[in-house]
Amino acid sequence: MNQEPTILIVDDDEGHAILVRENLEAAGLNNRIEHFRDGQAVLDFFFGKAGTPAFRAEQVYLVLLDIRMPKVDGIEVLRRLKADPELRKLPVIMLTTTDDAREVERCHQLGCSVYIQKPVDYDRFAEAIRRLGLFVTLLLVPPVKGS
């Protein structure tokens, strides 16, 4: 049975997180959405601050990852997730303001699923997130720990 993934928005900019969430909801998504303020927060969620992770193994997750953040950046989060034998199954969508070719290359090398630029123009921003929302509804995502 298909399980709705919980969407983890990892973005240091609270405004961006609100805009992304509102546009996902406007696209008809009613997934659970959680917000993390920086890379360290989401690493703590997956790897645990003192070795006990906070995520639920049977739950499915989808990560929307910004790159430039305080403490630990998105590239490092991506690297850590993809280096883990279980967590590497998680779909990671880079959602960031830069479209630097080297950055796109690096993220794909590290194994991100999709790379999307946040357009500055709001109509295009809303459209990008709406399409992302439609895309997400089509995804089949495995739980972190297979049954």
């Binding site: 405004g15 430039r68 403490k71 500055v120 921003f125």
Partner: protein
């Protein structure tokens, strides 16, 4: 005198014959004198050319086996060996170990087959110092066409080599600087885009909220009354939130631009490098920050600090930024303990600014010096420039900065500047 006809000659004939012989002898003597004069002149010329060569070049001659049979004064001077130490030895005595075995195989292959070898060699003098020579080896060939001697003429190019190395270093530094600038442009363009997304996005929300209110007003009931439900969310939630993010975005952009300008101006400030009394300088910095330090309940301990060669206002800035960071990133639970110490190592004055604050996890340490990067943007104020500026300021003065830190225990920021002694010796 064996001429048998001699006895038959008349007296006159005899006299004529004697005259002829006399003339012949004189002519020969004159020719001989002339040729030995020519020879002497040639010899003198050769001597002069050799003297000129000895004035200009480092000269050595070896036998066919490479044993040194002649060295000039310049050879002795640059190799710092005496003539006695060199004669009879081969050139391995000054081998620096820099060149490969193949290099010397090619070298010997060329000259033993009678061809001239030309190249640059790094040698080691008796005192261990290294020198570079541009070298020409000329084989002198015997009647059988095989070398009997090798004449080596060399020119000291140590300085040129050093200049080349320095030039390469400059080129590498420049490339490094360019990369750094690219990173900064990249970072800044991202950091400026971020607030723009908010200004645009929440601006749009503001527009929509206004439209909803306008629509509600247009549909106003009798007496101009508008149902509260229609405008409540817009007025109480949407509009204030949008304004908050738009204002924050604009302020952020303003701050980023001001910071960028400040950073770019650093490169243009004229430096006045001079011996600095750091004990006094740090006392000034701490006095200027006394209010904030007292407010943080700080216990400050300052060791004796070595002097250094640096620019006063810029060095003041570095200490101020580090002390400011220590105050900013102190542990909430305990009073700040600040220790400033220093030492001299390898011609550098190294200063340590140590705190007992929240520290930086190993994973975060590399980003600490990145422009506009902030460890804890929620808890502290700042533009993310303190360490970036400290780093830039130090690099301009041939200094550097680094950090050692343990999360939860505190950080020690180290920085190095040329010491006064080092600068006087060099």
């Amino acid at each position: 005198m064996s001429d048998p006809s001699f006895a038959d000659l008349t007296r006159d004939e005899l006299i004529a014959r004697l005259h002829a012989m006399e003339n012949e002898a004189r002519r020969r003597a004159e020719a001989e004198a002339q040729s030995s004069k020519t020879l002497l002149a040639a010899l003198q010329e050769l001597k002069d050319v050799k003297a000129a060569l000895d004035h200009h070049s480092i000269v050595a001659i070896t036998d066919a086996h490479g044993k040194i049979t002649h060295v000039n004064d310049k050879f002795c001077a640059i190799s710092k060996y005496s003539r006695d130490e060199l004669l009879g030895r081969d050139h391995r005595i000054i081998n620096s170990g820099y060149h490969s075995k193949q290099f010397f195989r090619d070298f010997w292959g060329t000259i033993t087959s009678g061809r001239v070898w030309r190249g640059e060699i790094r040698n080691r003098a008796k005192d261990g110092s290294l020198y570079w020579v541009d070298t020409t080896i000329f084989p002198r060939l015997g009647a059988d066409g095989r070398p009997t001697q090798y004449v080596a003429i060399r020119t000291d190019i140590t300085e040129r080599k050093a200049d080349e190395a320095e030039l390469q270093q400059f080129a590498a530094d420049l490339a490094e600087k360019n990369k750094e600038l690219e990173t900064i442009v990249y970072t800044v363009s991202h950091d400026l885009r971020s607030p723009l997304v908010n200004v645009q996005g929440f601006g749009k929300q503001l527009t929509r909220a206004c439209e909803r209110i306008r629509d509600a007003a247009a549909a106003a009931g009798p007496g101009g009354s508008i149902p509260v439900a229609e405008v409540k969310t817009a007025v109480e939630t949407t509009i204030p939130q949008a304004l908050r993010f738009i204002n924050a975005g604009v302020n952020k952009m303003e701050m980023l631009l001001a910071g960028l300008l400040r950073y770019s101006r650093l490169g243009r400030i004229e430096l006045s490098i001079q011996p600095l009394d750091i004990d006094a300088l740090v006392a000034d910095v701490l006095a200027a920050m006394k209010f904030q330090l007292d407010e943080a309940g700080a216990v400050v301990e300052v060791g004796p600090l070595p002097d250094c060669m640096a620019d006063r206002p810029q060095t003041n800035q570095v200490f101020a930024n580090l002390v400011d960071n220590a105050i900013k990133y102190r542990s909430p639970g305990k009073p700040l303990r600040l220790r400033i110490t220093g030492s001299v190592q390898d011609g550098q004055s190294i200063y340590a600014v140590q705190d007992n604050g929240i520290g930086i996890a190993p994973a975060h340490q590399a980003k600490a010096f990145e422009i506009f990067h902030r460890l804890n943007p929620d808890a502290t104020h700042g533009e993310g420039l303190g360490l970036t500026i400290a780093q830039r300021v130090l690099e301009r003065q041939k200094g550097r900065i680094w950090v050692e830190s343990r999360e939860g225990e505190g950080s020690t920021f180290y920085f190095a500047l040329p010491s006064v002694e080092q600068t006087h010796h060099s």
